[in-house]
Assembly symmetry: C2
Homo-oligomer: 711 residues x 2
């Protein structure tokens, strides 16, 4: 964080004698975070969104617009009357630093004065001029400057910058089926209150339904944020790293829970609930374990106005909460195995960039904790749990995963051995840890005195496991399957599997459509299909198509006047856009079969995309070039026992990547590190010919290891 | 809390020149709390449990025993060879204060020196003499004195007290089916480590299964604590007010959830999840609301070693967390109604005595939050939610409730009107609030700017409701139905509905019993009955009978050699002990019918017990006498608008109760206040003849109001 007193832009404002106010706030990486975390005084004030584009043909652009303004690059091309193909891409950090002397996420309009090359075209949103106060970053994202629009313009004049002021409402919006305007309802426009609301984007009611502003290939992180908000999965919240799980995402978690609980029943694992809080003594009992979590622990120190005598931690995980009770309950081999699970919230106060679902400060999970009489029993449990995780990803979410062992360096703090399922996100070329299952050995048993008498009367220490699956699953699913229209949901976890939309017009009244559609609905529901008949008169069919596409519903069933005449319906498959006319007679069972097909095809598609991006590499020279192709890399590996070769790979891959890209450095704060790390040692090992050398150390290889850039 | 420097008993120890150490700790009301919260240095140390009894025939007794010692009064009678009927009851607070100058929960062995009357017989557990250090309260429950046993005895000698040292292991234990001792397994006895464990009581493995130490009629609170621990519902935890919900209680919550979620589906209420944390600004936005919760709010002020810039509250309830999002989502009448629910944990850091399920600092609940276009819609929702609560209590838990309105004084902080279902606990003669459903009016809508345009284009404020049901339900169910053998579970929420126990002996081998029992199990499960075949060879049938009785399983199915011969089984019904022989042919459907019958009968029994304890009273003079009969009191009521007549009733009923009992005061800290409060104005109103006067004010009555002592 910079010191405001030293801030060059603030100095410049003072130098010019311009009226302004500066204030500090929590660091915000995105405009969404800013809007959610930094409240404004009134509707007459706004934050800005600042985008820095590079277009091979048309040059470099800084766009500053009001957060309420809808913006996309095509529209900008049209407004500026740019000729030929417009292909604006967000510029990289190095270009940004070179021109604006700012890091990604720190940019504001004032930064334009740093452009000594005079190459950057500065586009200013006309709507900003209608506000009384504009808040923007002075090249640091933990502070904002308050300026009147006139002062902003004066600043530009004095600095010799000529902004291009553009009216974004003057260009055609991204097309979408428009809902008919309701009589007497005010049109939502201008800089008024309605527009300045953070979640305006998710408003399903205005006169237009907003389309995604970002393409998946164009800007993956922005696309992701767009998809989860527009589909009504997530709303942002005023505490950084905490998000609202709306019904459309929570229902997925609910369906995963239902499935998972059924499997636990078969494994004789019982659900229970342990406290949210843990005393400092207990938390710190297992030293390796606490070291892994201590920096991220949230501490309660007060109740009401009263200081607590001893501070109390909120669980980051529940080993230290549960195992003292295990010690009380377990006395004899007759008490084993003890197999418990709980569904709960945990808190890890991370300072890395938070991302909804993938990395949040509070998240939901299940945590299984078991104790066994032998190592073998524990090991079996670890593998059973991991297999459930594999099934959740592959069979429910259609996301292929690689199961394997974590290396010593990456295993669970305090455990003996960790297994993992690793997924691949094609959109970012990165791997992501899907879920882990740990063999804790006897380490916690020793620390927490979990002893039992075996059948011979000898005292033994119990063998333990713990394993967890989180709401991250939902984020991975979105990233893998979503497209430029929005979510694409695998049928098994989709809150709705089919939606029936009547094409109401002069030729078809609601009264005629109603019985026809309701009969279809009944047919579907009878077969256990999660279906809905969208009979809302206030929205037109086009709006509804877009709405349910954004939400990723696997099958749309359209009913038009001709369909009724022909006793048929038009089916549209979300994931591939396939359309077909099907007779209503027996429609339910056809749809049921289609849903199974979709589930299968979506997995195969993801599997193909993933497999195309796993490269088998035996020489170091091919390592980074493969990362640059967005590949995961499978290499021979020595096990890294003699030296920290994992660290070497991290460091070297980072350096070589940056060199290859011609960038001088990467932002420490971004999650998008270019270094590769070990993902796992896959269970499924290709043949390793005698004499194969480790890709890093050159020592004899002992196994194949999977590497990649990772979340 | 007393000041240790002024403590008379410590002064006496110093005066006598006896070696000791004193230390402070969190106040602990019970020995269980002490064991859970105040750790000992080693297995050679122990806390004490101190009981103060009065027996009309045999006088007054102080019993001090090691926490690991199993004790009951019958045994004491036998050991002391007391003649005639032994009827020891815990003495009341006044008697305790008179003789030992200590409050309930503050007693230790040293207190005996305060008995100037020399009436108290001091019974000291012989097992205490085997420890190296004894920890006990010096008449204050936030401190303990550490003494060697020899020093304790020297203290007594110097103070002129002669303790009666008793070996509690020398008397016959409470009978229970003994499990055969495993070869080579150490017998658990003496003062060793196994015995000193807190949860030893819940050990299902030692050589005996422990029976309840308390009878429901003898000491209701101790009975309750005994039942929930022995049945493996609850384990105590080292943070006061937090408890472990073991699978046997969590499963009940799970079954309630499943049922409730199905009903929500019918009401179009969707599940979601909002963050655990709330910023101070938001929490304090609605003044009345925050006043209701502020003293109990837990604050996070640190993450790792870092102080947070702004402290963050843990939700005590989620109105202030959800409603800013409601404001973002609701723009038009088309967005209404918005009906959300979440299942979550909440934290209220209360300083009243915590009681598992009934009052804990963290608890689980569902909270419904809805917004509507009209008052009428909101009101309908409030009543629908309350009706679900009534069904949970009556139809699932077999607990009759009185639905009604809360008075202005007792309504939800910040709301417009609160409805409630009130249950009755015969064991304590007290009412308990079962669940509440609030009509919030437009109050929160105004504070959180939840506005919408109606069909005419006019801006309106939304009408809201919130409603919650907690794990308290489980505690109420235990209190209403449990008996001296343990839990009694209503079939609909019992984790197991029937358990099959083979009577293995010389006449019946496991091999013979197995196929017979498994066929029964299959038959039951096919009909959806939650059944178990307890084929564990390590426990004998008597042990199993007791075990499943303690856990309250509605039906036990015994299979002996004669049963197999006759193709029958012996059925034992938990709640009334009824036994019958039934043919195995068609057993499943007979059991299914029996379960329905049990559900019905258990409700009727509880209803009768409740109805016998609702007294209709029209004159004040009958009010307190009815409370003393453990009754709830239904009276004419003026509404209390002109003056705080509710407060008057509280105060006057308390004074008159204490006078009637001849006690001089009651402990402020105990939950067992003798004052009566309003429970509700029942929906179901008896006729109110013209001219009826309010029982308190004498003003014209406007309704009937239900009063009672309450949790």
């Amino acid at each position: 964080m910079g010191d405001l007193a030293d801030n060059a832009l603030i100095k410049k404002l003072n130098e010019f004698g311009l009226k302004h106010e500066v204030y500090s706030h929590a660091a915000c990486m995105t405009a969404d975070e800013l809007v959610a975390n930094v409240p404004l005084g009134s509707d007459k004030e706004t934050h800005t969104k600042n985008l820095f584009f590079k277009d091979k043909k048309h040059g470099i652009f800084l766009v500053t617009h009001a957060t309420a303004t809808t913006f996309n690059t095509k529209q900008l091309g049209a407004l500026l009357k740019l000729e030929g193909k417009v292909n604006m891409r967000l510029a990289d950090g190095a270009t940004l630093d070179k021109h604006l002397k700012a890091k990604p996420g720190h940019v504001g309009p004032l930064c334009i004065v740093n452009d000594e090359s005079n190459e950057v075209k500065f586009i200013l949103d006309k709507a900003l001029m209608d506000y009384e106060v504009i808040h923007s970053h002075p090249a640091q994202n933990d502070a904002s400057v308050k300026l009147a629009p006139s002062v902003l313009q004066e600043f530009m004049t004095k600095a010799g910058v000529e902004p291009i002021i553009v009216d974004f409402t003057a260009a055609p919006q991204v097309p979408a089926g428009g809902a008919p305007q309701q009589k007497g309802e005010k049109k939502q426009g201008g800089g008024g209150k309605q527009q300045s609301k953070q979640n305006k984007k998710s408003a399903k009611k205005g006169d237009t339904l907003l389309a995604l502003q970002w393409k998946k290939e164009e800007n993956f992180p922005m696309w992701y944020s767009d998809v989860i908000v527009l589909s009504e999965m997530i709303s942002y919240y005023d505490i950084s790293g905490c998000y609202i799980l709306r019904p459309w995402s929570y229902k997925i978690w609910d369906l995963i829970q239902q499935w998972f609980n059924e499997q636990l029943l078969d494994l004789d694992v019982e659900n229970c609930y342990f406290p949210l809080f843990v005393s400092q003594d207990r938390l710190e009992k297992e030293k390796d374990h606490v070291e892994g979590f201590a920096p991220e622990v949230a501490w309660v120190t007060k109740s009401g106005e009263t200081e607590l005598a001893q501070q109390i931690a909120i669980r980051p995980t529940s080993e230290t909460i549960m195992y003292p009770a295990f010690s009380d309950w377990i006395k004899s081999h007759r008490d084993l195995p003890l197999k418990l699970n709980q569904w709960s919230n945990v808190v890890r106060w991370e300072f890395k960039d938070p991302t909804p679902f993938l990395r949040s400060r509070e998240f939901l999970w299940q945590e299984g904790h078991t104790a066994h009489a032998t190592y073998e029993d524990a090991d079996k449990m670890v593998m059973q749990a991991l297999d459930l995780y594999k099934q959740v990803y592959q069979d429910l979410l259609c996301v292929p995963v690689v199961p394997g062992y974590k290396t010593e360096k990456e295993k669970f703090a305090g455990g003996h051995m960790t297994t993992t399922v690793e997924a691949y996100i094609a959109g970012s070329g990165r791997a992501i840890q899907g879920a882990t299952s740990h063999n804790l050995g006897q380490n916690f048993g020793k620390m927490f005195d979990i002893k039992f008498q075996d059948e011979k009367g000898e005292t033994k220490i119990a063998w333990q496991t713990s394993w967890g699956l989180t709401t991250r699953t939902i984020g991975v699913m979105v990233m893998v399957h979503g497209d430029d229209k929005g979510l694409v949901m695998p049928p098994k976890v989709s809150p709705l599997q089919a939606v029936i939309v009547p094409i109401i017009s002069k030729k078809l009244t609601g009264e005629t459509a109603d019985p026809y559609c309701k009969a279809i609905l009944k047919d579907l529901r009878k077969l256990g299909i999660r279906a809905k008949y969208d009979d809302r008169a206030m929205y037109n069919p086009g709006w509804k198509y877009n709405h349910w596409e954004q939400k990723g519903v696997p099958i749309r069933i359209e009913v038009g006047p001709m369909d009724i005449e022909k006793k048929q319906t038009r089916i549209v498959i979300r994931h591939n856009g396939e359309k077909m006319d099907l007779p209503v007679e027996g429609l339910g069972s056809v749809i049921a079969t289609k849903l199974e097909e979709i589930q299968k095809t979506m997995f195969e598609k993801a599997l193909k995309a993933r497999d195309e991006h796993i490269a088998k590499v035996t020489e170091w020279k091919d390592f980074v070039p493969n990362l640059e192709l967005n590949n995961l890399v499978l290499t021979p590996w020595c096990g890294g026992e003699h030296q920290d070769w994992e660290e070497w790979v991290k460091k070297t891959s980072r350096e070589e990547s940056l060199k290859a890209r011609g960038e001088e450095g990467e932002d420490e704060r971004t999650a998008t590190s270019v270094a590769a790390k070990t993902l796992c040692i896959p269970f499924d090992q290709p043949e390793l010919p005698e004499g194969t050398k480790c890709i890093a150390s050159g020592l004899p290889a002992t196994c194949w290891c999977l590497w990649g850039r990772s979340y």
